[in-house]
């Protein structure tokens, strides 16, 4: 038996490390903003520029965090996770990013479904009705699933702490929650990107 098999990181994440991760995320966003100034070039020129930029940015960040979370979820499922504290942080950040993406998605939706003939929905209904009726409608609903799934995962990880590692079904439950949230994220992200590509708001 090698020594490495005994290397488990069971320490729980501290509030300071959580604040640090959130700080780094926000700092990264501002650094990106500053590096691509002027501001209007980053946002674009459409009336929905701010809403769509932040919706896309938060969804993209969530996709990155969710991908790492999916890997850690798999490690948790198999019982061979070494970065439990990281998983706690990732689940929390995922839930936060899901909430932010939904918030800006709501704002963007106002421009998407505006009644004027130039709005994306009006355009799709006139030219490609199935895009709105099937893909967009499905996307707008399943995107919401990511929030309760990630919040439930984060709650279990923080409430039970490292005890999660000792309880098989607790591990399976968190792994399933994170895997499902990633599935719904990818569906919503893919359909959202496709719709935006076809007709930006």
């Amino acid at each position: 038996m090698s020594a490495n098999e005994h290397l488990e990181e069971r320490r729980e994440a501290s509030t300071a490390s959580l604040a640090l991760v959130v700080g780094i995320l926000i700092g990264t966003a501002f650094a990106f903003l500053a590096a691509t100034a002027p501001f209007t070039h980053l946002m674009g020129h459409s009336r929905a520029a701010v809403a769509s930029a932040f919706h896309g940015l938060s969804a993209f960040l969530y996709l990155i965090v969710g991908t790492i979370g999916l890997y850690l979820a798999w490690r948790l499922w198999t019982g061979r996770i070494r970065a439990f504290a990281d998983l706690q942080l990732l689940a929390t950040v995922s839930a936060t990013l899901s909430f932010i993406a939904i918030l800006f998605g709501n704002w963007l939706y106002i421009y998407y479904r505006a009644t004027d003939p130039e709005s994306p929905r009006s355009w799709f209904m006139a030219n490609m009705p199935m895009i709105h009726k099937i893909f967009f409608e499905f996307k707008e609903f399943v995107a919401l699933f990511t929030l309760p799934l990630t919040v439930a995962a984060a709650f279990i990880l923080w409430y039970y702490g490292a005890h999660v590692l000792d309880r098989k079904w607790m591990r399976y439950t968190v792994a399933v929650l994170l895997a499902l949230s990633f599935f719904y994220l990818v569906v919503a992200f893919g359909l959202g990107a496709a719709v935006t590509k076809l007709r930006p708001a």
Partner: protein, 135 residues
């Protein structure tokens, strides 16, 4: 706490901090997943209702307009989100209080959760809800 681990080749020290929290019953975990499932099912059923009935659709939009900024532009979706969130958070509080001292079979409830989320996803697939709504 550091534990000395002696292997065939060498002696290493492994950081192994014992869990800081006491043993907790599985009830709160069940409450967390079942309430999430109820929120998702609510979204699916409310959406189905809005597709089937114009009066219900107007009522759901009215719920969103009660508090959500921009709900007029967002449309009935604002009410669907609101009702889904209310059921999710409300049922979570109730179930958490009711189950916090109970040790339940988490595996069984995880299966219930998966069936529920499967039903919610199916009901939200537009061809399915349009068929059920009689369109």
């Amino acid at each position: 706490m550091n534990t000395k681990l002696i292997t065939q080749d060498r002696e290493v020290e492994v950081a192994r901090t014992p869990p800081a929290t006491r043993h907790r019953e599985s009830g709160p975990a069940v409450a967390a997943i079942i309430s999430a499932m109820l929120g998702m099912l609510t979204l699916a059923l409310v959406n189905l209702g809005t597709q089937a009935s114009k009066a219900f659709n107007t009522w759901v939009h009215g719920i969103g307009k009660l508090w959500m900024p921009g709900a007029e532009g967002i449309g009935p979706y604002s009410g669907k989100e609101t009702l889904s969130a209310l059921v999710w958070i409300g049922s979570w509080i109730v179930l958490h209080v009711a189950l916090r001292n109970r040790d339940l079979n988490l595996g069984r409830w995880l299966i219930v959760f998966l069936i529920g989320i499967g039903i919610a996803t199916t009901l939200l697939w537009p061809p399915v809800f349009e068929y059920l709504a009689g369109h």
